[in-house]
Symmetry: T
Subunit: 159 residues, 12 copies
């Protein structure tokens, strides 16, 4: 099948931007599923604040998923965010099953955020020449995820 | 690990309601991922109305996922909505990769809705005695999914 | 003409639920037209509060009409809410023409509500086995109409 | 019974304005019932956009019904919008029963709008001298219905 | 002093429209002060509904005052709505001092509305040729005041 | 147990302000329960306006309860608003059981308001020197309750 | 006194539904007063999140109180929610006076919720035949209270 | 006629508070009419900002009028805000007729505010002993009018 | 090409109304572009108030453009609002390029408003017989533009 | 005339950024006029969804016009968005007159978007060194226009 | 320079009120800067609830700063809230640099609130005779700060 | 003390971004305090528009302060925005004490904006390699401050 959506990028630019965006879609869907899983399974003294903070993370991850997927379509590349694809290709580090203590949840969230941010930082470099519009989206996503990375870390930090 | 959340149901009631709820969580997450996948990849003359209608389906699927998962926790059962679990256990019939014609999208949505509703109908029967509160949630979900089932079918129907 | 919308119910369930829903659509449209008629023609010392309360009844009747009609479509049955059909088949007891004293309006509203609720109660029984989703909608409608039945009665009651 | 609401119009002005308003109330209620009927029974490729557009027509018809009926009361004339009256006296051309193809729905809506607008245009002339306030309301209703007449026609037109 | 605001009307048109608008400003300010006076001093079984309905009348009178005064300025005529001017020139019939029974309040409101509407009807005729824009404003005001005239009358009417 | 919350008042000021606030909490909770009881049990021609007005009283009483209780905590005094405490110590005059005629409801509300206001007036005097911040809260509560006292009286008054 | 509000239930159905509803009104009022008491008196490291969560419980309890009381009136039974009645008949387990540590508050809330839910479960069984409309309300209340029961438990649980 | 609304003040307190409130009602109505007059008739380079600022003054004056009038009723005194009363008794210094230069408008507003504030300051003293609730209202009004006094002065001031 | 949208007007009425509407569309688009040009290029002491007032003019011009264009379509006439058409046929008097002093901007806006209003007044006469619905729209537009004509003039006027 | 607004850019940077911004203002105004023209003149089966989608394009084009024009002023360059300038200098490809079939409208919109995006891409390169703030604005505009480019294309694409 | 804003207070009253208000402005600005500093630098298990609660404190401090500063202007006294002035004259006790443990943050907030409240209490006494309007503002500020003082203390308290 | 928040930047990148962000926090806090100082102390003919425009500047400065400070934390650097730090290190040029003429206020605001923008432009260069996410934030801040720089200049400019 030929690609039905044309791109304003040349083929090489399109390939670079498209790969980076498809990878980001997968990472962010997984991040949103992990955050929901934690939202339901967290227990412990900080249940309430962790439970609420996780939904903010879900909201952020879902909105950026949509932005990245629609940016892929805008450069003529079909995004793939189906469960099987996410299960196979996500760069997040995952989450254990069953009820989880609040401190373990915080550790897991910090770790998943760090893994996803690290891949985003690489994609910011990779797309600088190929497509500054896509790079700008990655910068916006990184800014928000790094803010969340601080906030989740701050809950475990000691002065 | 002992279950840290107690239930107001007896163990057998809890098992029946818990299994039905965990299965529903998986089906609905898959339905939301399929609908998003279609939302991004649909092309054709009815692009705009199908694109928008898919986001209504996403919203419905996400809200019911949360309701089902939190009902599971309310009866002391840990829900599992991680990507790997969804990829393995979903009762939906899936969605092909790449760009999709609008009529094919409509067919796929009707088929996935029918599969999920069919499992819900079984769970409505299964939970009637075990837990009328859980059953009531399934009835509410079925009512909305059957409404959507009509609306998506109506787009392909001929008088 | 074959039915273009398929149902998740079997034919007998569909017939029972469909008949109950079509009847309810007709009753509720008539109730909304009666309430509007009263809204415009009421006179007397309690004009203002009766005039406003009638619009709450109109709103309730219209919303439930839509719910019942769309439930009919969801089970593959075409609803019929045209003026001629309503004029012929409504189970409401009607309303006289011309200006009406506020106390007479209250009597008429209580009477029409009682008639419609009575038919709803029968349909709650009739649909219990055939379709719990439809039954659940009738229970919701009955709950609201019985609340209004109390409120309109309360205006004429004496301790 | 003497008329309990006095009018600021003389008897002949009141008769002309009152007749025109009572006729308009009946036409507009029928239009709203027809639009709802179509809203529920439409099928076909443009289901979604037709289904939504019909609710805009319902909203317009209902608001203008209220305006016309309350203008009748304001000139001391009792409006009559009961189902039997609508079934007998409406100037709209009606709507068939059962599921309807989207193109047929559009045809039927255009036809009903044209019929109702035609009667409104006559009433605009008839009330010019009798009551400019009533005429002004008819002009406002005609403006909106003629806008809808264009929009519904535009869906069937070819350049 | 020469008039600092020019008009798009000729001098005679301006004189006719200006006089009608200045008179309307005075009548409507008085109507708003009377309605507030009644709002504070009403007593009796229908206190609450009369008290609330009076504030709707205040709101209507104030908004139309502003419309009429700004229409005067738009045709280059200075409006005068000071207390002394209102006290001298109002066409309303006034309101007694002290606490007032609710039925007397209703009578007084109906009477004041009738007086103000009667003068408006004359101004609708007077401005038809001179300025259709000003006439259109008077028609809008009359439509609303006649609606209120019905609603206030309806509270005392008997069938 | 030593008091865990320190106060910016000296012990005598704290005792005076604390007693006044604890008493007010009890009175206002009782007032809100009485108003709800009346809201449900009122019958008669003014049912609707009395029913609605009672919910405004409930809202006012609940908001002031919270203000008074949190002012008590702010001066280091634990408030007590449990059912048993309210049943024993309330200064309101109570409400009979069962359905109540609207006129009787109005009488009872006026009487309860008068009783609660009377105690508030004493507390305004008592706290003037001890704590002007607490006094200011009592003045605000009295202003609103006296406004309601007028409005409820106005329904029974005759000129 | 004869009952001034008629019922659409037969006398035995009315007695069963009425008793269940009156008992629920009392339990829920007590739950709301206990939650407010805790809201004001909680101290400790989790003060803020417990303080906020308690107001969500208050809101839920108040809304369900109103639903249950108005359902009682809808079946012709007078509800009784006065302080003395609540103090005598509540099925909640109560709350100590004075400042309370946050962990003790959580224990007390979980205990009170469990007691109220247990009585609700019995009433769901008791009303199944007598009045499915009342039963449906109890199912809705139980669903929400069991969700809160999980959330409050989760704060004390360890994995 | 005996006073139909009882007061929680003794007769002498009632007389002092009542006189002060009735005088304030008159002053504030006049202030609102003057501000509207200026709003319509201002011309000059600062037209727009003066025109808008005058409507803020109108809003403030109207809201405080209502507060003062309803406080009068709350202490059993009938307020009088009719045009003739305002024309005779207002303590404001008035406003000339016809179009007015913006600088003259500012001068006039500052002067009228100063006159009204001066009388308010006397009433704050007069009501301190008689009724602290009424005094508190005057303090609130003075605070807002003095703020406006600064803002209007600031437009003419030079450093 | 035959006209694909039918009209409820006869051909001569349609021609008159259509010409008037097409001319108005062009004038109003030009007015909105001129106002935006001024919004960006104004400088001087009244920058802020002129800058803001110009956006209110833009909003008004854009909304009336849409009303006029859609009224043209409603009578079966295609509107033409493309840049070339506006550049050729606008009846506005234009605006110089580059930065503009605030007083010059005010002069230019008053002049452009006067030119557009003058043409509107002619069209009000021209359409009176041909189509009162179109005339009513022109009256509404004239009312608003004349109000703005006063407000912009008022900024330059001296008493 | 010397430039009255100073810039934080040096003259060469200012010239580059200024030219790019002035060109963008012209392109975007034309795009908004073309989209409005299409909004009014579209006919055909997809009338409704195309008609609505065009208004989203209008909104986007207008908001970016303002951003680009105000960025020009922020770097001390006067923008020019008058009709004559747009008619002469726009880089869009235009739109035919008269009624247009929906598929032709979609083609024309895709073509105009492609032309405007192409010029934007050049300006993103041109301003990278001269002014990263201006470049960032162009990136934001390109992101949104490319998203719309996909959505409009998707309506014509086939898999 | 003479004072350009006149006061309705005499010189001595103005001096007392002015000094108290200027001091309060300084204290509250410092409180808002300290709370923001803490908002950014807090770490530890209660990060989230402390982080959010600090922004409520910032909001309160900023709103009261504005009230106090504008009250100073209203009595003709220029407020001074520049960084240097705040650094020199604040009565708050300050906040250390760098990351801070949540418990230390709570201690510091309680201490700063106590210091600011203590100075406010003195100013409430000082302004009682000089200006009851200013005193009333201080009472309002104290009420809110004392409420916050309790809430922050409650987080460290033990029963 | 070791840094408790880790960074996704390497130490040198962190040092560069951190220094730039800490400096920006200080500049922006000072800008907000200067704007508030001017907001309170401005006098003169343009008082109202300058007074309002200053609050827009305050809002912008406060929001960007928070963004910069939280970006510092996100890269593991503690921000310092205490009064003493601002007083010592701000790059703004300050504001005189006492009442200030509106033209002087405008001059001072333009000067302070220019000083802060100049330092921001340097930081945009400095962070380009070190951290594009931080650079993107500075570009956004510069865009808004340069827009305000134009708007404030425009008030003093002459063509």
């Amino acid at each position: 099948m030929t690609q039905p959506i044309t791109s304003t990028l040349d083929p090489e630019q399109q390939r670079i931007a498209g790969d980076a965006l498809r990878g980001t879609v997968v990472d962010l869907i997984d991040l949103s599923l992990i955050a929901k899983q934690a939202h339901w399974n967290v227990i412990g003294r900080n249940f309430r604040s962790v439970h609420l903070a996780l939904d903010e993370l879900v909201t952020a991850a879902r909105e950026f998923t949509d932005s990245a997927a629609e940016r892929a379509t805008a450069v003529g590349v079909s995004p793939d965010g189906r469960a099987v694809t996410v299960a196979e290709k996500s760069g997040a580090i995952g989450f254990p099953d069953g009820w989880q203590q609040d401190t373990d949840v915080i550790d897991a969230v910090v770790g998943n955020l760090a893994a996803v941010i690290s891949r985003l930082r690489e994609r910011i470099d990779a797309t600088e020449k190929a497509d500054p519009v896509t790079q700008d989206l990655f910068i916006e996503i990184a800014a928000r995820l790094e803010q969340l990375h601080w906030m989740w870390q701050a809950q475990l930090a000691t002065a």
